[in-house]
Structures are given as C-alpha cells and as structure tokens.
Amino acid sequence: MINLAALFKRQLAREALLHRRQVRLIINSCLFFLMIMVFFPLTMPPDPALLRTIAPGLIWIAMLLAMLMSAERLFQQDYDDGVIEQWLVSGYPVSLIVSAKILMHWLLNLLPILLFSPLLAILFGLTVYETLILMLSLVCGSPAILFLCALAAAFSTGIKQKGVLMALILLPLTIPVMIFGSAALAAAMQGFAVQAYLALLLAMSLVAAGFLPFAIAGVIRISLVD
C-alpha cells in the first residue's frame, strides 16, 4: 500500500496520460463550446448591444453544456475496462482517486476554453477588463460545475438511458453557480464590484470539490456493486 499523496500524484499522472493519448476528446468539447458561441450570433440579429447583453449567460451555458458532454464519458471507459472494480477492491479511498480524475479533467478541459476567451471577447465585443473577469469567473466557478457533472455521470454510469437523466439531475444543482457566474460578468460589464461574486463562486467550487468526491464514490460503490 502506497501512501495517499503518492496515490493522488499517480492518479493525476494516469489521467494526464489518458487525456494525452485521446486528445480528440478535449478537442470535441472545445469545439462544442465554440459551436454554441458562434451559432447564437449567427441566428440572432447581430446587434452589438444585444450580443453584449446575452454574452454572460450564453458563455456560462455553453461552458455548462460542454462540461456536461465531456463528463458523460468520465467514468464510462473505466467502467467498461473494469478499472472501477479495481478501485473498489483496492483498499484505497475511492474518493481520492475520483477527485484526482476530476481535477485533471477540469484542468485539461478548462484550458482550451480559457485560451479561447480572447476570441469570445472579439465575437461579443467585450473589453480587456471584462475578458479578464470572465476568465477569472470561469476558473472560480467551473470546478463546481464539473464536480456536479461528475456526480451526474456517476449516477448514470450503471444504467442504460443516460443523457436525459444526467441533465435532469444536474440542472437543479448547478443553478446557483450559473446565476452567480453570469452575474459576475454582467456586473463587470456595468462597472459594479465583482469581488463578492468571485468569492461566492470560489466558495461553491471549494465546497463542491471538498464534499462531492465522497458522494461520487458512494454512488459508484452503490450502483456498480450488484
């Protein structure tokens, strides 16, 4: 038995390697995000004021959907290969393994979205300050979204018809994060102070990252031991 810090580092390295070998998955979720961002202005009157008004909500919705899509396969491959079964019998805390997995998933999936934020600034007419606040709010709020997506993914790993169930479970739980996330950018656009919103987002992310791995491990254990 190795100590827990070494376990965490090893799992992080494993997840990084898995993502590196399947880069197409990250590119898929990034493309999905960009697709939503481009299609909205295309299908609406291209009024700059209108685009600036809807930009906060739209960016957060696109991020939510992209994370949801990428989270669907979070546990599926490991479930199919029997790796989850090995986690359950290994004697190590499954919550630690799960949090390493989600953490690496978050880092690698958020990075492209952050890199494309300047492009979004051009598309929707955001200033440099607003773009910075946008990136900051995404960094603060996306862990909460992703951990909740992982919870929904854990619920639906063992059962057949996944898609709708995941969205249904996820929707009520992510509403607070979405409200504060889009409000942060909207407040920045109007020149109000954003510290409170960012602090709340960060708090929600920390609570999610701290407590949800235990819930996810519990759900995995229950639904995959039949």
């Binding site: 919870l151 619920f155 639906s156 059962i159 018809q161 709708v164 169930l165 249904l168 479970i169 929707l171 009520p172 739980l173 509403i175 607070p176 949800l212 819930a215 519990g218 759900v219 229950i222 639904s223 039949d226």
Partner: protein, 247 residues
C-alpha cells in the same frame, strides 16, 4: 417509545402497526381540512389590500411548507438509510418524494394564480420562486433516478445520496426572501416570533397546515404499505395476507 421505532423498521410490523393509524390520519386530515378551508374561505375577514383574493393563502402556504418539510424529512430518512442501513427508511423516502413533488408543483401553481392578480405576472424570476422551482426540479431528478434502477434497494440508496446533495437548497429557499431583494413576502409566522397576521386569518391557516400535513402523512403511509407488499411479496407474511392461511 424506542421500542415502537425499532418495530417500525421491520416491514412486517410496520405494515401491521400502520393499519391502525390509517383511519385516524384520514379522519383527522378530513376534519381539519374541511374546518380550515370553510373557515378560511367563508368566515375569515377579507384583507384590506388584497380583498378576497388572499384566501388562496390557505392552499398556497400549506403546500409550500410541506414541499420543504417533506424534503427535510427525506434528508433525515436518507441519513437513516445510509448510516444505519434501515431499509424501511429507503421505502418511505421514495414515497415521500412523490408526495413532495406534487406539493412543490401545487405551491408553484397556486403561487402563480395568486401572483397574477396581485403582482400582475404569472411568473417573476425572483429568488423565492426560482429556488422553489429548483426544488421541484430536484424532486423530478429524484423520481427519475429512482425509477431508473431495476433493483429497488440500490435505487433507494442512490436516491438517498441525491437527496443529501440537494439538501443545500432548502436553507436557500427559506432564507431567499431575506438574502435577496425579492417580490415575495417574508415569513408571517414562525416558531419563536409573534405572528404578523391577524388571529382571525391565522387560525384557519394553522388548521389547513395541520390538515394537509396529516393528509400527506396518510398518503405516504398508504403508499409505503403498498410498496412493502410489492417488495416483500415473496415473504411468508405477505403470502399469508394475500392468499389466506394454509400457504
């Protein structure tokens, strides 16, 4: 009293004990609801500002209160199931979810009906209404997840985890009227404060609140009894009950 609680954890003795409660729950609920609604609709004085339209309070407040109380109760049952592994708690949890969902739905609908003449809109996106809508979606998610599992005991445990994760919404709903600038009014009565509503309007409200609570309890007990018969159908006591002695 503890002996009673231990007995309730066993499906067979729950079934037998609850049989005696059903007529009392039903009668009590019927009586309280009839008296409360008649008093509220006919005998309570009209409001100085809202006129007679305020009387929907006698349906709206009990349903809203019960949607939250049932969820809190489900949270407690989830802990019983996950920590103490009391399977009966899982059965009652699933039944409470169904009743709670209908209460949340009714609260939203009656609230909309009340809001149209008073606020001029069927719906506003203020904190209290939005968080109650979140509660309805949470109930929907719980019901959908529970239905997705073939093995009902497994489904109960997963639903319990989901209930606990969603429990954080409850304080948000309750305190939303204080934390945010909302259209919805604050609490009119609570356990420790003096009620802000006149006694002639308060008493029928308390009666309908209690009556609807007893009704929900009745429905949960009846559903739980049915569910027990279904789940324990291979046990001897169920077969004796259904097919008579000599099985």
């Amino acid at each position: 009293m503890w002996k009673l609680l231990y007995q309730l954890a066993s499906p067979k003795s729950f079934y037998q004990t609850s049989r005696r409660w059903v007529p009392w729950l039903g009668g009590g609920a019927f009586f309280l609801l009839v008296v409360g609604i008649l008093w509220g609709l006919v005998f309570a004085p009209p409001d100085y500002q809202q006129g007679d339209a305020f009387r929907i309070i006698y349906v709206h407040v009990p349903t809203a209160f019960l949607s939250m109380a049932l969820y809190a109760w489900m949270g407690f049952l989830a802990l019983l199931l996950l920590i103490w592994r009391i399977k009966m708690a899982g059965v009652i949890l699933t039944m409470c979810a169904q009743v709670g969902a209908s209460m949340a739905f009714l609260a939203l609908v009656t609230g909309s009906i009340w809001g149209k003449p008073m606020w001029g809109a069927w719906w506003v996106w203020d904190a209290r209404l939005t968080s109650e809508l979140i509660l309805l979606f949470l109930y929907g998610a719980i019901l959908a997840t529970g239905n997705a599992y073939q093995n009902k005991e497994q489904g109960d445990k997963v639903v319990a985890i989901l209930t606990l994760v969603g429990l954080v919404d409850l304080p948000i709903i309750h305190y939303s009227v204080y934390w945010w600038n909302t259209l919805h009014q604050g609490a009119t009565f609570s356990v420790f404060a003096k009620p802000k509503i006149h006694a002639s309007m308060l008493y029928p409200l308390l009666l309908t609140l209690l009556g609807l609570s007893l009704y929900c309890l009745l429905v949960v007990v009846l559903k739980a009894r049915n569910e027990l018969l279904l789940r324990e159908r291979r046990q001897r006591w169920v077969r004796v009950l259904m097919e008579g002695e000599g099985v």
